[in-house]
Symmetry: C2
Subunit: 154 residues, 2 copies
């Protein structure tokens, strides 16, 4: 597998994997959604080596997930902020959190609860069909080739 051109595959899942398909990147994104923005903060939260953190942040900036914004001129210092493209990863993260809550939980209960500010309630994320609004299940979905070629789930 040529991982360096995975983002050009005719499969949307491969293209997504090219960007967020590794453990450190996902953990970095978790911190981003928890409003962590600075190099030192990521490093101490995750205990990732500085080398890898530096490389992963560059990659996320290159793919337009994060913006590198100066917050101090002298000395030059930057922080990393989610772009809209990055914010749009939220459903992926939430789907993963929800699966973990459901299938990997232990007797201690959920680590975090989520409150929807809009309605004020504690909620779970549910994936529904954009057309009929019903919850989606794998077996109710039929795939067929789109204009960007056939094969693969997406």
């Amino acid at each position: 597998m040529k991982w360096d051109t995975l983002d050009e595959e005719p499969c949307s899942l491969s293209r997504t994997i090219a960007v967020i398909g590794d453990r450190w990147t996902l953990l970095i994104l978790r911190e981003c959604f928890l409003r962590v923005r600075r190099f030192e903060a990521f490093q101490s939260a995750l205990q990732i080596t500085r080398h890898l953190l530096s490389e992963r942040l560059k990659k996320l900036v290159r793919f337009g997930i994060l913006r590198r914004v100066p917050y101090s001129e002298a000395p030059k210092r930057y922080e990393y902020i989610l772009t809209q493209k990055g914010l749009d990863l939220y459903p992926i993260i939430m789907a993963m959190v929800h699966w973990g809550d459901t299938h990997m939980g232990d007797e201690r209960g959920r680590p975090l609860l989520h409150e929807h500010k809009t309605c004020g309630k504690q909620f779970d994320p549910v994936m529904v069909c954009s057309e009929c609004g019903e919850p989606l299940h794998a077996k109710q979905v039929h795939v067929h080739p789109g204009p960007g070629r056939k094969e693969a789930i997406g």
Copy 2:
């Protein structure tokens, strides 16, 4: 980071990452949802080395995502079938596909289209709040510690 105990972290995202947080595993799951079930079929579809495929399938079986079911007694041959726990990963895969469609597309258009058998229409997956049914956005969600401890997105 001790990746081997990631599934015991007090964070549902970490626990999910422990299971599906690598590129090959996600691609193997893609094939599972496309109804691929046998060792040789995975291998030729993905061009993954047999060694890694073997290891990843074992891991998915160990975590209860796949079941190893005999389909021939002599010689003994097995196929790998998604369990309910595995089928429940569908929203994660679909969320990734949808993000790829939206943000990593090219001029050729989508590689695959999805039809919801229930309503008969071509659809996109949408993540909504289980309580009010409104689409979820990162900024409308407030997290607070649950019984299984604080910190981390989930």
